[in-house]
């Protein structure tokens, strides 16, 4: 477990040391430079505004969908689950690309406007665009959090309110939503933390108009060749993230004390929509999901078949459809010329390895925390959870500085990417495993111990078996994240360790345009879907096997 402490704290300590290092001289000038610079505060206020907008959109969208899914008799509930899942699979950077393709100056919509002789004025580079892209990727977090909470709400509370004559709106706003507050708060903090950490969407949609957020400011400070200032800004951001994390824990704890009575898995509809409302809701949700999931995917899929995005086509600027502008050329370049194979294999290997190791480390940490209670296990849990508060880009910078001196010289190898992924992923796995292990019966472990089973035997044979669902979902989530991870890979890759994230972010250059980014995006989405479905299939298969053998 010393290795866990090492891989988490060692890079952060290096970052701290770097903040005092001014070309080999120890001083604090970088702190003064950063905190007297008005651009730091502007970036901070932009970050806060962005977080607030994203939080509002995700709460409304995710919360509403969860309430419809659990508490109404809406007929097409499966549709909600499917489309929310699809939104989670599409990385925010791809949403940003799709937005540029559809709403940009030469996007599909502007071409339609052109044909109708209407003026098209929509600036895709804006705060609202960035907020929408981030929200579309993050509302599933809120949806799943609220949905799980709704399933725990005791139906008697709602029935009592109904008995005293509460209207449907009163029921929603005065009864259900207050009971959901803990879930809104915990998912809200997740959304805030993820928005704070995001780099790719801000770089794509905010930098073009000169609007900086903290992550893009850190990247900018790197280019100024002032590593000490980069370190100070990074530590400042870590500090803010830790504050957010501690506040969320405090609120979570406070709400736990005021916990309502819960019962398990209450998927009993409370609100009867009626036939007309059901149809109306189906229409509204169909339009909504078409706009936020299907349209972005169709847009990038169509664009991926262009020889060159921007060439005139049938909805183009006055030109007829030119079929010779469309081809499978981009996919042929990616697959036949081998552009995609190495990044694909690397993402698979690094993501898979980091996910396995993270799941293992997380399981041991949670086991020690739950069943070997003591100050050391508590400290271990706290330290290993710390990286959840640290944005990817900062982890990458810290790793870059830390892992290149003897005896830990992993720099320039893919080990550095895997280690940084492990640091990033372990807290996610811990969360998943903790949620499962809370319901475990301690008596089983005590009984096993009484019967003479060794600690390892208990861990491997009993504990791992009990938490397998948490392990599996942790593995699945981190494996998926690794497929679209950009900031860490972008700073740490070398020729042999290029990942899909790097390819996606950097392929648009002199030779390739948005059409090639779209082709890579389509592949990333499809692979993520296949992996997801494959793992779900394996999970079901294992469950079936267990049932038949038992």
């Amino acid at each position: 477990m010393a290795s866990v402490v090492l891989i988490v704290l060692y890079p952060i300590l290096h970052l701290l040391f770097q903040s005092f290092n001014d070309n080999g001289i120890l001083n604090f000038s970088a702190y003064g430079d950063v905190f007297t610079d008005k651009h730091t505060y502007r970036a901070l206020s932009n970050t806060i505004v962005l977080q607030a907008i994203v939080l509002l959109i995700t709460w409304i969208l995710g919360g509403t969908l969860a309430i419809i899914r659990v508490k109404t008799n809406y007929k097409h509930k499966k549709m909600i689950d499917v489309f929310v899942f699809l939104s989670l699979v599409i990385p925010p950077f791809i949403f940003a690309t799709a937005m540029k393709l559809f709403l940009g100056n030469a996007g599909f919509l502007s071409r339609v406007y052109y044909h109708l002789n209407w003026d098209y004025h929509f600036n895709v580079y804006s705060f609202s665009s960035a907020a929408v892209c981030l929200s579309l990727h993050m509302y599933p977090f809120v949806y799943y959090g609220i949905k799980n909470r709704l399933l725990l709400i005791d139906e008697d509370v709602i029935n009592s309110a109904r008995t005293v004559g509460s209207s449907k709106l009163y029921l929603i706003f005065k009864v259900i939503i207050p009971m959901l507050m803990p879930a809104f708060i915990s998912t809200g903090f997740l959304v805030i933390a993820r928005t704070l950490a995001n780099y790719s969407v801000s770089a794509e949609l905010l930098l073009p108009i000169g609007t900086e957020v903290l992550t893009t400011r850190i990247y900018g400070s790197l280019s100024s060749l002032a590593l000490n200032r980069t370190a100070v800004l990074s530590l400042f951001m870590v500090f803010l993230s830790v504050v957010v994390f501690i506040v969320s824990l405090w609120i979570e704890k406070r709400n736990k004390n005021r916990e309502m009575s819960v019962s398990s898995n209450q998927e009993k509809p409370t609100i009867n929509l009626g036939n007309f409302n059901n149809k109306l809701l189906f229409t509204i949700l169909s339009i909504l999901f078409f706009l936020i999931t299907i349209l972005p995917f169709i847009t990038i899929l169509f664009a991926s078949f262009f020889k060159r995005w921007g060439l005139k086509f049938f909805t183009g600027f006055g030109e007829p459809l030119l079929w010779n502008h469309l081809s499978f050329g981009n996919y042929l370049i990616l697959f036949k010329e081998g552009l995609i194979w190495t990044p694909l294999l690397n993402s698979f290997m690094y993501g898979g390895t980091a996910a396995i190791i993270s799941a293992f480390i997380a399981s041991v940490i949670v086991y020690l925390y739950n069943y070997r209670k003591g100050p050391i296990s508590s400290l271990l849990l706290s330290i290993s959870q710390l990286p959840i508060t640290i944005p990817n880009i900062i982890l990458a910078i810290a790793s870059m500085i830390a892992w290149r001196t003897s005896p830990f010289n992993f720099y320039g190898t893919s080990t550095i990417i895997i280690i940084t992924y492990i640091v990033l992923f372990t807290p996610i796995c811990i969360k998943q495993i903790q949620s499962v292990s809370q319901n475990l019966d301690v008596a089983i472990f005590q009984a096993a111990k009484t019967m003479g089973a060794s600690e390892w035997k208990i861990y491997f044979s009993i504990y791992l078996n009990q938490i397998r669902n948490g392990l599996f979902s942790g593995f699945l989530i981190v494996f998926l994240i690794s497929f679209k991870e950009i900031p860490i890979s972008l700073l740490l890759y070398t020729t042999n360790s290029k990942t899909l994230g790097v390819l996606l972010f950097a392929i648009q250059s002199n030779n390739y345009g948005l059409e090639m980014t779209s082709a890579v995006a389509v592949i990333v989405i499809l692979i993520s879907l296949i992996i997801n479905l494959g793992l779900i299939f394996i999970k079901k298969g294992l469950k079936k096997y267990e049932q038949t053998t038992n």
Partner: protein
């Protein structure tokens, strides 16, 4: 079955980790390892340079391609947190090379064919050499539905018809963009007037210069400032793939801004003399007629006197950046730049 699954996953993780440890492979050429090379530039050109050099020297290069800005950041972070990892780095701007040389981090060397390099490209008192030059032009779409007028000078870019459709790389992120912005500053008589007018015209800032020609073709913006070599490569690509390139390069009346691309060998304590010699051979190759021809075909201007500069039209003035001035004033300039462009 569960045990088999756990065994398989463990084997997968161990196999990947052990494979990662073997990445720094050794070449079959008598030297202890491959040369680590950081390069910026078009991938096809870099691949061609690598394969041509290795056809005689053997498999000795391990090249990673970065953007100019990435290369600059990476080398600087490495230099500040230990030793520069790359044996050779090629691209970006002279400021980073000057800084590293002032810190005594660059290996001294003499070019074998130094007599064939034109005088204006010879750097004295520094341990790096200029490999090629590139020119910055205004690029615009040829689609008259999108843009009906053409600018003829940098000053025209502040005109209202180019409001919200003109792009340039962000000087706080891109090394080349920093050069452009400082040239504008120098061109305006050492003031920020031109940059202010571009900001008032809602200029779109990009992460790199390389993405500007692409963005114009994509329709993301209608015109921008970009290196001419990108235009050369895109024209060839359009011919090869049989489509009309809706892009035009305009040589501004004030002149074209010249950018130079240096190369340097980093000092490394544990590198053998034999490997340092291979590094020097590679730098010699980059400046050889063969190496320069490959780069010329990708749109770059050769520094050799025996390769004609056919890209520059007659009568166009070349504006050279005062890199020493830019380096001394980098912090102040960037601060002023941020005041204008960052919000």
């Amino acid at each position: 079955m569960k045990k088999i699954l756990i065994l398989c996953l463990t084997f997968f993780a161990l196999a990947t980790l052990s494979a990662c440890g073997k990445e720094k492979d050794t070449p079959e050429t008598g030297v202890e390892r491959k040369l680590v090379v950081y390069m910026s530039g078009p991938e096809n050109m870099i691949n061609s340079l690598e394969s041509t050099f290795e056809s005689t020297a053997g498999d000795v290069l391990d090249i990673t391609i970065y953007s100019c800005g990435q290369l600059r950041d990476k080398v600087w972070i490495e230099s500040q947190s230990g030793e520069i990892e790359a044996d050779i780095f090629f691209g970006s701007d002279p400021i980073i090379y000057n800084k590293l040389d002032n810190l005594n981090l660059l290996e001294p060397f003499t070019l074998t064919e130094s007599n064939i390099v034109k005088d204006k490209y010879i750097i004295e008192n520094h341990n790096y050499v200029i490999v090629v030059e590139r020119y910055l032009t205004i690029m615009k779409t040829t689609d008259t539905n999108r843009l009906t007028t053409s600018p003829t000078s940098y000053a025209d870019l502040g005109n209202s018809e180019y409001d919200s459709v003109f792009a340039m790389a962000d000087a706080s992120l891109s090394a080349t963009a920093f050069a452009v912005a400082s040239s504008f500053y120098e061109m305006s008589g050492f003031n920020m007037n031109l940059l202010n007018s571009l900001n008032d015209n809602n200029v779109i800032l990009t992460k790199s210069n390389g993405s500007i020609p692409s963005g114009i073709i994509d329709g993301t913006f209608d015109l921008g400032i970009a290196p001419y070599d990108a235009f050369v490569r895109l024209s060839k690509n359009a011919t090869k793939n049989d489509y009309e390139l809706e892009l035009e390069a305009i040589w501004p009346t004030e002149g074209t801004i010249s950018l130079i691309r240096p190369v340097a060998i980093a000092k490394q304590e544990d590198r053998s003399d034999a490997l340092t010699d291979v590094a020097k051979d590679f730098v010699d190759f980059l400046l050889s007629k063969q190496g320069q021809t490959i780069q010329f075909n990708s749109g770059f201007i050769s520094v050799r006197s025996d390769i004609n500069n056919s890209y520059l039209p007659a009568g166009v003035t070349v504006i050279n950046i005062d890199w020493d001035y830019a380096a001394i004033n980098e912090a102040t300039f960037k601060s002023n730049y941020e005041d204008i462009f960052k919000n």
